[in-house]
């Protein structure tokens, strides 16, 4: 694409010397950023680099401590989200901000409902039509009347996107919009982005996925530790350079899984059934093995994990741990049997966001840090410090509330919790969702080390490269069934996609 | 200047407001200042004790006290006595000789008088019921038992089929209607205070039940109901008199006068016929 043309187009938005501090954290230090009409400007950086914070300032969610924002060359005060929207700036937040009790359509048009009858009655019909239209444009199958609270994370994210699109903004910020989406949905989103570009909409695109940047971005701005590093043309810059700017160090290469589990079986699942979500799921897992679960959203991988973990009741099926049949009716039972589950929905099921890093890291193991009922505060602090160091969690201190950590750092805390509990069967559901390349590589290495130490690991991931990168063996799911198993060292993306789309009737 | 805290069993009900009026009248007459306080409900005995403590802290020249429990608050009263504060009990007494005197009416006797009039009105036979304003307070128990005992002793042909409790007029109204529903052959109902009496009158109006209603205490609604024949009549104690008695006695006490152990402020049966009488009208209040 011809950057030259755009280069001389004036910026719609320009941010200069932006400063922002939070209790204990200097999130942004004189950061600058600009966006031109009709460009996709990727904003990249490690977890906690300050990407979301910068964009929350641009969209009036936070107020900057210093610096100025120019819209169309005129300095603008963005005191509230409304003020930003009035100037045509809207955002898809990294965290989902939806009203669970309301339908998709009601969420999309909340506060802007089409009215009828003296403007006091809501025109539900029109609202549903308009919502349906947006979903069609995104090429997704979502019932506008369906309730958001009952949707999976992925679908909720799609609703958020639809909402942002409905504003017909000229500046659209997308903060990790694809973190929960599968390939097809991502493709459709990109199509939408392309046609927004064509209509002169400027798009800020935050992601940790390099391939996405290569595909859709015109320019890339890199941030590190709350500072502006550099802005480069996407096409002409090799991603390795970007990555180095981001993490400021060399990275492990993207090789394929080589290892293989031992012959000792630690987990066997037979004939697991749960409503429509799970049908006759059977598989086994060996000591030292990494079993990847691939599949499209809604395939039932999370449901499998939750079922094994006792988080949801199962209709039928048997679970054997170390050869013995075990009755797992609750997560407590699962943990007793050495099974740990790392949820895909960090905010709600992973963390106690109101509690400190220390307490979150240790909560699954509190029993161990107790003497005559009293908590061994010192010991708790020590292990917490240890894991914060090990996983390089970015936090001012271990007493920081996890709520205040960036997405990726929260994920690291959750992982720490289960590592500390050292169960020998670890189920990771989307372990690197919202985690930057730097941390990703570490976590991969971590999982491999754990396997090497003889842990049995299940990795559920919607990112095929990740599945291929890690798995010794790959189970592919579709519509609640396991449609096939592949050898992780030889499997190809194509093979996986075929199995992932192998519907019962089609097969 | 002389100051007497008067601590009642409540303050937001008509009866206590009438006592307050009497006390304030006497205070003005004797040139003393008073405060009139009480807990929210007659159940909050500990809160009344706190009020008592606060009152004692003010080092008053005398103290008027209507004990919610005849024994429970004696230790607190003892403190007042130790501080040399003369105590006058009112409305219902204390099982102790700490109070110099007690200005009260015998709730049991008063309720018994209600029973007699009610019995007379139904020819001393048939089914009757009662709606009582409080199941546990001294006043409630006194008036209930006074009524029931008298019926049991003196009127063998009268059967009490139901006793209900309701602490406000609205609940009393719905209660009485339920009673009439359960026992359509009820001939008379006794209500033990103004609130229940209002409820009784409302229920009788709403159901059009042709029964004899007997109330207690005073108040405009009840008086009107008696006037228009809904209620047969009611017992009134002399709350205004009680209030005056408390303050007057305290004044005498501070002046060092001897006081009788008990001052019966009396009670009266009133109905259409005698409501206008000067003596009765004097003790009635709106």
């Amino acid at each position: 694409m011809n950057e030259t043309v755009r280069a001389n187009a004036p910026p719609v938005v320009e941010m200069r010397g932006i400063e922002k501090s939070f209790p204990g954290v200097r999130a942004l230090q004189s950061v600058r950023f600009d966006l031109r009409a009709g460009e996709v400007h990727a904003l990249m950086g490690e977890n906690g680099a300050g990407k979301s914070t910068l964009m929350k300032i641009l969209t009036g969610v936070y107020q900057p401590d210093g610096g100025e924002i120019l819209v169309d060359g005129r300095s603008a005060a963005l005191r509230t989200p409304q003020a930003a929207q009035a100037l045509g700036i809207s955002i898809i937040h990294q965290e989902l901000f939806l009203m669970n009790h309301l339908s998709a359509a009601q969420n999309i048009f909340i506060g802007r409902e089409p009215r009828k009858g003296l403007g006091i009655f809501v025109d539900e019909a029109k609202m549903k039509q308009d919502a349906a239209a947006i979903f069609r444009r995104m090429k997704v199958e979502i019932d506008p009347a369906a309730e958001v609270g009952n949707m999976t994370v992925a679908r909720q994210q799609l609703v958020e996107i639809a909402k942002a699109l409905s504003y017909n903004a000229r500046v659209l910020v997308m903060d990790e919009p694809t973190s929960a989406l599968n390939e097809t949905e991502v493709e459709h989103l990109f199509a939408v982005i392309a046609d927004l570009k064509a209509n002169g909409v400027g798009i800020v695109y935050i992601t940790h996925k390099m391939d996405e940047v290569k595909r859709i971005a015109d320019r890339v701005t890199v941030m590190r530790d709350g500072q502006y590093i550099d802005t480069l043309p996407a096409a002409s810059t090799p991603m390795s350079t970007v990555i180095q700017l981001m993490v400021g160090r060399e990275l492990a290469d993207q090789h394929r899984a080589t290892g293989q589990g031992t012959a000792e079986e630690v987990l066997r699942v037979t004939g697991l059934n749960r409503g429509k979500a799970l049908r006759e799921v059977s598989f086994s897992l060996n000591k030292g093995e990494i079993l990847g679960f691939a599949g499209l959203m809604g395939a039932g991988r999370t449901e499998v994990a939750r079922a094994i973990f006792g988080a949801d009741p199962i209709d039928s099926g048997e679970i054997q741990v170390h050869g013995q049949v075990r009755r797992i009716a609750s997560p407590a039972d699962a943990v007793e049997n050495g099974i740990a589950y790392l949820s895909e929905d960090r905010k709600h099921f992973g963390l106690v966001t109101g509690m400190s890093v220390r307490d979150n890291v240790t909560m699954a193991s509190w029993g161990r840090f107790m003497q005559a009922g009293f908590m061994q505060e010192a010991a708790l602090g020590k292990v917490a410090e240890e894991y914060v160091r090990k996983l390089r969690v970015k936090t001012p201190h271990i007493h920081q509330e996890t709520r205040l950590l960036s997405g990726g750092n929260q994920q690291k805390v959750v992982i720490s919790k289960w590592l500390l509990r050292d169960c020998d069967i670890l189920i990771f559901d989307e372990p690197t969702r919202g985690i930057d390349v730097g941390a990703k590589a570490e976590i991969y290495r971590l999982l491999e080390d754990l396997a090497a130490q003889g842990k049995a690991i299940i990795v559920i991931s919607s990112e095929l490269p990740e599945v291929l990168r890690l798995s010794h063996r790959i189970a592919v799911m579709c519509e609640g069934r396991i449609t096939g198993e592949l050898d992780g060292r030889t499997a190809s993306q194509e093979e996986i996609m075929t199995l992932a789309t192998q519907r019962a009737n089609a097969a | 200047e002389t100051y007497f805290p008067i601590i009642a069993k409540g303050f937001s009900h008509q009866f206590w407001q009438a006592v307050k009026a009497g006390a304030e009248e006497a205070a003005a007459r004797n040139g003393v200042t008073i405060t009139f306080e009480g807990p929210n409900t007659e159940a909050e005995i500990d809160k009344q004790t706190d009020i008592l403590n606060a009152a004692i802290a003010k080092a008053p020249q005398g103290l008027g006290f209507a004990a919610l429990d005849s024994q429970a608050q004696i230790p607190a009263l003892q403190k007042a006595a130790d501080a040399g504060i003369p105590i006058v009990a009112f409305d219902s007494g204390v099982d102790s000789d700490l109070p110099l005197t007690t200005c009260s009416t015998d709730n049991m006797a008063a309720a018994a008088a209600a029973a007699d009039n009610l019995a007379k009105a139904i020819g001393e036979e048939g089914k009757i019921a009662a709606v009582i304003h409080d199941q546990t307070s001294a006043t409630g128990i006194g008036r209930r038992d006074g009524f029931l005992n008298r019926i049991k002793e003196a009127y063998p042909n009268i059967e009490v089929v139901d006793v209900q409790y309701a602490n406000d007029a609205l609940k009393a109204a719905d209660n009485v209607k339920a009673m009439l529903q359960a026992n359509p052959d009820i001939k008379a109902i006794f209500a033990s205070n103004e609130g229940s009496a209002i409820g009784l009158a409302v229920a009788m109006k709403e159901t059009g039940a042709q029964i004899v209603g007997v109330g207690f205490d005073s108040g405009k609604t009840q008086k009107d109901a008696i006037m228009d024949g809904t209620l047969l009549g009611a017992i009134t104690q002399n709350p205004v008199g009680i209030g005056q008695c408390v303050v007057d006695s305290l004044v005498k006490a501070t002046a060092g006068e001897e006081l009788p152990k008990n001052i019966d402020t009396g009670f009266y049966w009133y109905d259409k016929t005698n409501m206008a009488d000067a003596q009765i009208a004097a003790v009635l209040y709106d």
Binding site: L102, I110 | Q135, L170
Partner: protein, 334 residues
């Protein structure tokens, strides 16, 4: 919990959709069961006059329940409704009796007073960020105190305004349909309920109330003026409490300044029995009305059966829990 909240949302979508309907259905089943039980075991229970009596005993709690339903769906709570009712009744008394103004002014005055006080609660909650429980607990005391101050702790009678009787005991409908002796107080309850149901499920006000209760932060980020809607919600609640004040004082033909304490808990119980979630975002007005009926049928039935006062209290407590349990249980199954 999970299961309930999982279904729950649907209720929010509209008062007449699946779960909402089910909630009401459930409460309704409980109500029918109670009616059947008492008809069988309580002689003289199942008579027309007693049914009217039950309705009348429901009116006040029902209207208060509807009032607090708004607030609860919006994710709040209002403990002041009981004493607010008393205060508004006193206001009506002052306007009609002490100032001798015409009936309409009394009605408007009472409702306006309630709405105004409610708005104050709402303001302390929205602007001063006082937790609703504590803000309205304070308001409960303030309203109670003011009621006593204004009335000088004496009942105010409406003898000079005979037409005041129209607001509750009189049955205007029986004039049109002889035989249907439903008192106006009860009719007013039904009218308030129907209007409220429409407001909550079909109008922008209702949508905002559900949005607040479902996720206030999301609502704010969507550009909704959260505080204004919150204040409005409490104002509506106060205004409807005012209507309850009119009904009760009309029935007693007097404003009783000491009455009302504790009524808030009965109303909230009715709301929850009716399937409205105390965590906000879900609920129906009709459920509340059914909940209120469950409570008054229970009290009346036990009385007619002649159950001892103390046991009556125990049973009521048990039934409250059981009713809600059945509701939750059946919705899980559904």
């Amino acid at each position: 919990m999970t299961d309930t909240t999982l279904d729950s949302g649907k209720g929010a979508k509209s008062g007449f959709f699946t779960t909402a309907a089910l909630q009401k259905a459930v409460a309704f089943v409980v109500l029918i069961a109670l009616l059947a039980f008492f008809s069988l075991f309580a002689p003289n229970f199942a008579t027309g006059s007693n049914m009217v009596g039950i309705m009348q005993a429901t009116a006040v709690n029902g209207v208060l329940g509807v009032a607090v339903t708004y607030v609860i769906i919006a994710g709040g709570i209002d403990l002041s409704i009981g004493t607010m009712m008393t205060l508004t009744a006193v206001v009506a008394g002052i306007i009609l009796t002490n100032l001798g103004m015409p009936l309409p002014l009394g009605i408007i005055g009472a409702i306006a007073a309630g709405a105004f006080m409610g708005a104050i609660s709402g303001w302390t909650i929205a602007e001063l960020k006082i937790p609703p429980f504590i803000a309205t607990l304070g308001m409960m005391q303030i309203a109670r105190g003011l009621a006593l101050v204004f009335s000088e702790a004496k009942p105010i009678y409406f003898n000079d305004t005979p037409s005041y009787q129209l607001l509750s005991p009189v049955s205007s409908i029986s004039a049109i349909f002889p035989g249907i002796e439903i008192p106006n107080g009860v009719m007013i309850m039904f009218i308030v309920a129907i209007i409220s149901s429409i407001v909550l499920t079909r109008t922008i006000v209702g949508r905002m109330i559900f949005a607040l209760g479902s996720n206030e932060e999301a609502a704010r980020l969507s550009g909704i003026k959260v505080n204004r809607w919150k204040i409005l919600t409490y104002a509506i609640c106060g205004g409807i409490s005012g209507i309850a004040g009119l009904i009760v004082s009309s029935r007693l033909n007097s404003a009783q300044p000491a009455l009302g304490l504790g009524y808030e808990l009965d109303a909230i119980a009715a709301v929850v029995i009716g399937g409205t979630s105390l965590s906000g975002g879900r609920g129906t007005v009709m459920g509340t009305i059914i909940g209120a009926f469950i409570m008054s049928v229970l009290t009346n039935g036990l009385r007619v059966m002649g159950v001892q006062e103390e046991w009556k209290i125990v049973v009521t407590g048990v039934i409250i829990i059981v009713a809600v349990f059945i509701d939750i249980f059946l919705r899980k199954k559904a």
